[in-house]
Amino acid sequence: MVLTNQTHSASKNVALLKGAGFGLKRELIAPLQAAFESDLIEHVSFLEIAPENWIEAGGKQAVQIAWLAERFPLTCHGLSLSLGGPDPLNTFFLQQVKSFLNQHKIVLYTEHLSYCSDLNLGKPSYMHDLLPIPFTEEAVFYVANRIKQVQDTLERRIAIENTSYYAEAPISSMDELTFLNAVLSEADCDLHLDINNIYVNSVNFGFDPHVFLRGVPGERIVYAHIAGHDREADNLIIDTHAQDVVPEVWALLEEAYQLYGVFPTLLERDTNIPALPILMHEINQIAVLQRQYQAIQPLLASA
């Protein structure tokens, strides 16, 4: 297998991805189908799905994915690749992802800078939740190599998301931003900037989210997420995607557009999902911000 110095240009389709979208949950499919081509969803430019929920789909789901893929640009935001996992990369699953991306002409595939599996009694085993990788130098190279392997296998660039977390590893030798930047640079992959996660982690670990935002490699940003969360305590946010987006996160998104220019931006809402017309308020708000900054030269232009 070729693992070194292979570069992958962004798929042509990624350039076509723009505007606002939302993460498609099962309960939103019927309302979306009913609202198709109506003004209600005029600002929905794309939809995001988790490949883990649609790979090997049969029955009603198989019909739904075909309907969606014919009508919307789709992005995939993976949950189970476990880029930082201590068990071997699941290459069988990676091939399934590859077929799925190609079959449904998925324009962008992103994954988390985290892991979700371990070796349980010596066997690779999924935890089915996102866990924080300790920020060490060894981990930078380990994860970056796995990202390269994924890009080589998929024959496309992928984007990596900065992930929310709750517990710092005492063995970490660098901060989150340093780790993120080192992985992106070492793997030469794109950045999926999660604005909400910057804010969540800034509260959970007491750092300045604006400094973090200014510190990411703007030229690698291809995609962004915003979401709501649950505030458990003054210094603890649980990233539930169960609430409306808070004003601080809106402000960070605006600042990101100012700094780096406009990029396709997705609203995540995973539980406590409001009716589609209510959900559209936040989608429309993204679209308003995007229009506002579309024609303005970014402060930290990378060109």
Partner: protein
């Protein structure tokens, strides 16, 4: 050795081991206890709700405490090797089959509950509605079987088990069920008599016309009867039986067609 097991991976293993089984595996040294507890709670709750959603009756029969304990043991000790969330309930079922102390009827019940999910998400060719032949003569033309069907046999009345109705012994005769998706993607459960179950097995095996399938069924019955009682007149009477079975079977096939089990 450092290269084979970098220290960050040893940390990850300890972190995960604690999440899986906090009582028996200490958290990694110096990790904030409260924050560690966030993980032990949310990761298990996620698994717990994924499993629970598939087994509503099983958890009622077991009771809250025993159910939670069982799912905890599954999460702590059974490797979950599929990255797909849909597969968590199936992995849990596989785990149940490795539990020697679980009453057999509970494994049957779990299989029955899992089957609904399995059939609803089964990847199959389209069937029903516009995809099925119209004005089809079931007796003389090849019958198409709904590709989503699962034909199952249980030694307990799994569809009647509840917290107040726990079987104490297996049934004297097993029950036969066909589970399938209709054209509207709803999962249906239909109880069959043994003869109809056998007929469906024949149809499912390879394409038959109604007459062919019922003739085959008649041959199978005669063979079975012969084996059980070689002195019987089964073979000699079989021609007359076949005709009777074909006449009788036509009604059964019509009914299966109406139920969207065949077309």
């Amino acid at each position: 050795m450092a290269l084979e097991h970098p220290s960050f991976q040893a940390y990850q293993q300890a972190f995960c081991a604690h999440i899986r089984d906090p009582k028996h595996h200490k958290a990694p040294a110096k990790v904030d206890k409260k924050r560690m507890a966030v993980y032990t709670e949310i990761v298990f709750n996620n698994i717990f709700s994924s499993v629970s959603a598939c087994y509503p009756v099983l958890q009622l029969v077991l009771g809250k405490r025993a159910w939670r304990k069982l799912v905890r043991d599954f999460f702590a000790h059974y490797p979950s090797q599929s990255p797909l969330f849909r597969d968590i309930p199936k992995t849990f079922f596989n785990y149940l089959t490795t539990q020697p102390n679980l009453p057999v009827y509970l494994t049957s019940l779990a299989h029955y509950e899992w089957l609904e999910l399995a059939v609803s998400s089964m990847q199959t060719a389209p069937f029903g509605g516009e995809n099925s032949p119209k004005n089809h003569d079931l007796m003389t033309q090849k019958i198409v079987v709904n590709p989503s069907i699962a034909l199952v046999k249980y030694h307990f009345a799994v569809h009647q088990i509840s917290a107040k109705n726990k079987p104490t012994a297996p049934l004297s005769q097993p029950i036969f069920l066909v589970v399938y998706r209709n054209a509207a993607f709803k999962v249906q459960f239909v109880e069959l008599n043994e003869l109809t179950a056998q007929l469906l097995h024949i149809l499912k095996d390879k394409p038959h016309t109604g007459v062919e399938a019922l003739t085959q069924l008649s041959v199978n019955l005669a063979t079975t009867a012969n084996k059980q009682d070689p002195a019987s007149q089964a073979v000699m009477e079989s021609q007359a039986d076949t005709q009777a079975l074909i006449t009788f079977g036509e009604g059964i096939l019509r009914q299966l067609q109406e139920q969207e089990i065949i077309a």
